[in-house]
Symmetry: C3
Subunit: 242 residues, 3 copies
């Protein structure tokens, strides 16, 4: 059984983590599979939806197969960490951020560690009432600075600091208050509400979806005074091309 | 009857959209009228208050008179869009942002599209309990990237992305949680609470109001390390000049 | 009795404002004492905890001893304001921001003016249910632009503007919604909950705590594209050095 399943219909590409027995813990291979799925979306896709099969979105990295566990008691070198772990993850986060279309995470159960960063790295997050978000890495003595980079610009930096140092769990309601989730729905309605949101977005024209995404991607690195003109140009570009 | 009414008393300039029959939909002429009102405030004004007459703050642009509707089936050129629509809007947003004194939006009913951007572009927003905020443009196939620029730095970028793609409506309480509204009051108390806030601000000295506004305007484009010295200089400038 | 008490145990440095009779109003001398305490922490400290003795965290600056009150009716010069007030405060805020380890404010009662800025300048804030936050300076005609600089990047700029102009008081719950507080607990449980959080953090390794803090300090001034690589490097640096 494949650990990442990808299906496409009507302008939507659905990517599902598929290791439900262990809460969708991800190996480096799965991180690479996610990247490949993102890099392979069809030209007519408007929206990528990421979810996890079963009770949890993603409980984090699979430490049993993690490169730092395989060094036989010796610390791995910085370069081997990059080659085997942080490199593939950075490539994934970059692919997700650079995707020219909209991205949505649909979260049920635990979104921990890498799972929390993956959910937050999407443009939008829909969560079920019992979803929970957490960055537990410091409890294992690991600084989750790469996950922090994925969440940066997504939720307030000071909130990221608190989540990391305290290792506290955020309920779905707390996640809503911090902006990590955008909508919280009853557990039994998660799929139906996700379908409605997907349908809404897939009725929007592809050129407008791409213009909005380009704005979201580029505005953060622009001087404030340039943001108005950029927004006006994107709008005029779409409208004048129809 | 004028579509924009401007009244000034005791250090306050009140600008009211005055097309209550259609929820204060704005034409390009009204956008220019708003800009002119902002550019014409008296030297002793401390606070500009923007509101809408009747049940709604502003339901958005008036598409019947919009330039893109007037091209007889042909797409308007990028330059004509700029001349007739995005140009005047950018000028308004810039005038609002550059105003040397405080700005307050008082929102009742719908703040949709341009209305949502206008409310959020003010320094402060007071909303009644049944106010609602929405960016519905993508439902018409238009990317509201110019409205996004007005809201940038005001609410979290990721929240802007969600509002745009989902076209979801925010209740006043939701708007409070995202920072789009700062205070939510019962419908019947909106005017009284606005009057109290206006009175508080108009007791503050003009030099201090301007120093605070200068900080709000300039700090976003400063390197983090320079923000402390800038804040200290503004404070000392005011205090040593009395 | 000393106005600042400093105690250290098990990787924690506790700094307590100790003027409970006046709600821990701070003089310039106390600001300098806080700075000295921060600059003198032991090499093995992982966490600095700042609190106020008695019913309040800190009600603000002590205006009776403030330099601007001592000029005998004449406005003080900008340079004397810098020497006697803004200079020492900037040094404190910089020391707090530059500290290589985690910082936590534990807030009971009033955190007003300087007290509000001090609480927010820490990486994390734990508040009791009846804590209240306020920037009342404009009610005295003073622009709190230096306090604004301490809160910048900590809470949303637009929220800072509202707090300053309106001089409104935030309840602990409101502070939670704006990100000024991270956790709100019943009054009777504040010490116990603070102790649990301190214990959690002090079990984390010092190298990981420092790596996370370095990320929090440096990421804001980095171009967005560089933040991933920086996070990956910090992680690899820690892991490969064990």
């Amino acid at each position: 059984m494949k650990e990442i399943t990808v299906t496409g219909t009507n302008g939507t590409c659905r990517i599902e983590l598929n290791r439900p027995d262990c809460g969708n813990l991800v190996s480096t291979g799965m991180v690479q599979g996610l990247t490949l799925a993102l890099q392979s979306i069809a030209d007519d896709v408007k929206l990528v939806v990421i979810s996890g099969k079963g009770a949890d979105f993603c409980k984090g990295r699979d430490y049993e197969t993690a490169p730092e566990s395989a060094a036989g008691g010796r610390a791995p070198s910085a370069l081997s960490i990059r080659a085997q772990m942080t490199g593939p993850m950075m490539t994934l986060y970059t692919a997700l951020r650079e995707l020219p279309v909209a991205t949505l995470s649909v979260v049920r159960g635990s979104a921990y560690g890498f799972g929390c960063a993956l959910a937050g790295a999407c443009d939008m997050t829909l969560a079920s009432e019992t979803a929970r978000f957490r960055l537990p890495e410091m409890g294992r003595g690991l600084p989750p600075t790469l996950a922090m980079s994925a969440l940066w610009d997504r939720i307030a930096p000071r909130t990221i600091g608190y989540l990391v140092y305290s290792t506290a769990e955020l309920s779905a309601r707390d996640a809503l208050a911090t902006g990590l989730a955008h909508s919280v729905v009853p557990d039994g309605e998660l799929e139906a509400r996700a379908a409605t949101l997907v349908e809404t977005i897939c009725k929007e024209p592809l050129d407008a979806i791409k213009a909005v995404k380009e704005y979201l991607k580029e505005a953060p690195s622009m001087p404030p005074a340039a943001r108005g003109g950029f927004g006006a140009s994107l709008f005029a570009g779409v409208l004048s091309s129809r």
